[in-house]
């Protein structure tokens, strides 16, 4: 009787419970139910709440200001009009990296920043090349190293604030728009002088287009530098970027890059965007620059495994499966191939993507679309070489690299675009070299005279750095954190893309990861044991069958 009760309990209670647990855990429920449950992912809910009722109000209509109706002949004249009311704006702006192009947190004179001696493996450095590079400077007239960084009227308010979309700085005009129509030979486009009154009266908070004018075209073209930022983000849809998608939240850049006194939040060279990852619930005055700001550190449903990953894996690693998902991005730039001419003339050759693969001025390029990022430990800080740092030309030189390691609690596994290429270095001084690229024939500039020695001497002289005269080319790499182009939830990286033998994280060593790591010895021994058992029982079984049939024959014979 007792036994029967115990068994009965099992049959009627344990089995159905097991079944219910199985079906619930394996998600074989009605699809509608799943949808409802997944809506409740707390990180999503929180972020939605935080952004739901956004109301911006403005108490000034700039088209009604008399000061903006006067006749303007140049940018600085407009700036003076702006400063008439916004008295502190230029002084605030003067302290930011958008003006100095130097890391404000680096020690005085360290020259960290593109306005100093920091290098990259695109056009390398701005020294001696200012008029071309500073077409992306939010200022007017930075044409060489005599530019006056204290002149308030040289701040370009319009490039960030005008909303007509007609304001264009001339690509080689040191940040100035043209005063009369002019064709830029580099792209064949005609640049017209701006309608100063219209652009000045249109000002508002910066939109995606204002920021994108420079940041989508860094390196001199669409998608050249960043893999996760290009012109496709001007009017993105949700599947390209869940935050900026015009069919969704339609965020502007400054929605996350929240700004204080013209300081736009974000990483600046080795200074992380924020010292600590916090949510707005922990501190409502933090910039909204981190995913955690709005989504918290455990945004997934309670008990879901991804929540266990957020201490070591950045949100971006799973939620940005590929970068350059619409337009190709440059992955390789070999300066050593520059200088080849056709019929004595410089030429350009386009590849299958419609992007240049060779340019006499610049060398060889490679482009890629839909790129799987490379993953590295990252605590928010990137170290960048300057033209003064010693390098080892025997190896691939890292011009910049993410700082961080597994033991650092601020570090996460983070996705990067790694741009590789070859660039000149000094064989005697063992430093990277700054070439004088932009200039007319006879100026010593590479793009005028195609003479590396002269170009490198000119660039290093302008940067006030030594050059031995001996140069060669070295392979280098440069990193960009991938943080935009956040994909829709369903498109995020699947577990098995990393938890597999040769997956996305195959190169990250120093820790055990299920599915990726295994000991050849244990596996071999284990399978030998299993196969041995199988062989053993098979032999035993055949032996039994064999002897049984022999006995049968014997019995038959005896009969």
């Amino acid at each position: 009787m007792k036994r029967l009760r115990f068994t009965g309990f099992f049959c009627w209670f344990f089995i159905p419970m097991l079944c219910i647990m199985f079906f619930c855990s394996s998600g074989i429920c009605a699809p509608q139910e799943i949808e409802e449950i997944e809506e409740l992912a707390p990180g999503r809910k929180m972020a939605r709440q935080a952004t739901k009722r956004r109301q911006l109000w403005i108490t000034s209509d700039h088209s009604k200001h008399a000061i903006l109706e006067q006749e303007f002949a140049s940018g600085p004249e407009v700036t003076k009009a702006c400063l008439d009311c916004h008295t502190e704006a230029a002084m605030q702006f003067h302290k930011t990296i958008h003006w100095t192009w130097l890391d404000p947190n680096a020690p005085e004179g360290a020259g960290i920043g593109k306005g100093g001696h920091s290098m990259n493996n695109f056009c390398i450095n701005i020294n001696s090349n200012e008029p071309r590079c500073t077409s992306c400077h939010a200022g007017y007239g930075w044409k060489d190293n005599t530019f006056d960084f204290t002149d308030q009227s040289k701040v370009d308010c319009l490039v960030c604030h005008e909303q007509t979309g007609t304001y264009k700085k001339f690509p080689a005009g040191a940040g100035n728009p043209v005063s009369e129509s002019k064709v830029f030979k580099g792209n064949g486009k005609t640049y017209d002088p701006p309608d100063w009154n219209a652009v000045a009266q249109s000002v508002a908070r910066p939109t995606r287009r204002n920021c994108g004018t420079c940041h989508f075209f860094g390196g001199g073209g669409d998608g050249v530098k960043h893999g996760d930022m290009d012109s496709s983000l001007m009017k993105p849809n949700k599947s390209l970027d869940v935050h900026m998608g015009m069919d969704g939240q339609n965020f502007d850049c400054v929605r996350c890059h929240s700004t204080k006194l013209h300081n736009i939040s974000g990483r600046i060279y080795s200074t992380p965007a924020v010292p600590h990852r916090k949510s707005l619930i922990e501190d409502d005055l933090i910039p909204k620059i981190m995913c955690e700001s709005c989504h918290s550190a455990t945004p997934h449903k309670a008990g879901e495994k991804p929540n266990d990953h957020t201490d070591k894996v950045a949100c971006q690693s799973c939620h940005i499966p590929h970068f350059a998902r619409v337009n190709p991005t440059k992955m390789w730039w070999d300066w050593s191939k520059a200088g080849k001419k056709k019929n004595g003339k410089p030429y350009m050759e386009k590849g299958p993507s419609g992007k240049p693969v060779y340019h006499t001025k610049k060398g060889e390029f490679r482009w890629a679309k839909f790129v799987v990022p490379e993953y590295q430990w990252f605590n928010g800080s990137i170290h960048t070489l300057t033209a003064r740092d010693m390098i080892d030309p025997g190896k691939i030189v890292k011009v910049s690299w993410p700082v961080g390691d597994r033991t650092d609690e601020n570090s996460r596994i983070f996705p990067f675009k790694v741009h590789r290429g070859k660039q000149p270095y000094d064989k005697v001084n063992k430093t990277l070299l700054i070439p004088h690229l932009f200039g007319k024939k006879g100026s010593g500039a590479y793009w005028g005279d195609y003479d590396w020695k002269k170009a490198l001497a000119g660039g290093m002289k302008a940067a006030r750095l030594p050059f031995s005269g001996e140069y060669d080319f070295v392979e280098t790499s440069y990193v960009f954190p991938t943080t935009h182009m956040v994909a829709r939830r369903d498109d995020s990286v699947k577990c098995q893309e990393c938890h597999t033998r040769n997956g996305r994280l195959a190169d990250l060593t120093g820790f055990y990861m299920p599915g990726r790591d295994h000991s050849e010895l244990i596996d071999t021994a284990g399978w030998l044991l299993v196969l041995g058992s199988l062989a053993g029982v098979l032999i035993h079984g055949f032996g039994r069958a064999f002897f049984a049939s022999r006995r049968k024959e014997k019995n038959n014979d005896n009969k």
Partner: protein, 218 residues
């Protein structure tokens, strides 16, 4: 050659059969999902494999608690008391006599279900291998709480995973041999049928010696 009459005895109670077969399914599913998590092949997809593995693992743990409870309350644990008596006879039987068609040196009986070799094997499984595997699995499952529980300095995921894997290989090897051994009854399917119905056919008049008995009847 003499043929003894076969009689049917009720050897395996309902709960015993229930846990045996559920455990069998759980072990097979755990091996299947576990080896996928190890990276040996792709079947369910890593995420689903982990979910299933956790589910089956926790189910087994729950079932195991009931099994142990049952073993102790019914006194059936005595079936697992190890002995070396006739152990070598059994080994000799499986190595040599079985090919000659000789009878098994130990007869099954409700009071002595297991031969000495089975006792050793099952005791080793139930008392050592399975609990170790379950503890290792539980620790693996709770990896993210290690630092909160202040045990992360004493544990290493790689070592733990290796222990879990080695036992998994041992269990897979056991499974193969165990399944094969079911074919060594008087017919190929006799033992499996007995584990399904509870009734095992044994030769009439088999003597059970006192030392074999699990239950001492009053």
């Amino acid at each position: 050659m003499t043929t003894n009459n076969m009689v049917k005895v009720y050897l395996y109670t309902r709960f015993e059969r229930f846990w045996h077969w559920v455990q069998a399914v759980l072990i097979i599913m755990l091996l299947l999902t576990g080896l996928e998590i190890h990276g040996t092949y792709a079947l369910f997809g890593f995420e689903r494999a982990v979910e299933l593995h956790n589910f089956f693992g926790l189910s087994w743990l729950t079932l195991f608690v009931f099994i142990v409870f049952w073993l102790f309350t019914t006194g059936e644990w005595k079936q697992y008391i190890p002995t070396t008596k006739k152990l070598f006879d059994v080994i000799h039987y499986y190595c040599i006599d079985i090919f000659k068609g000789k009878p098994h040196p130990i007869r099954k009986n409700p009071d002595a279900k297991h031969n000495p070799l089975q006792r050793m094997t099952y005791l080793g499984l139930a008392a050592a291998l399975l609990p170790t595997q379950m503890i290792a699995g539980l620790l693996y499952y709770t990896y993210n709480s290690w630092s909160v529980w202040r045990i992360s300095t004493y544990l290493n995921l790689e070592t733990l995973a290796t222990v879990h894997l080695v036992i998994a290989f041992l269990l897979l090897s056991f499974l193969i041999i165990h399944v094969y051994m079911t074919t060594t009854g008087h017919t190929i399917t006799a033992h499996v049928a007995a584990m399904w119905s509870g009734w095992e056919e044994i030769e009439e008049g088999a003597e059970i010696e006192d030392w074999e008995k699990a239950r001492v009847r009053s």
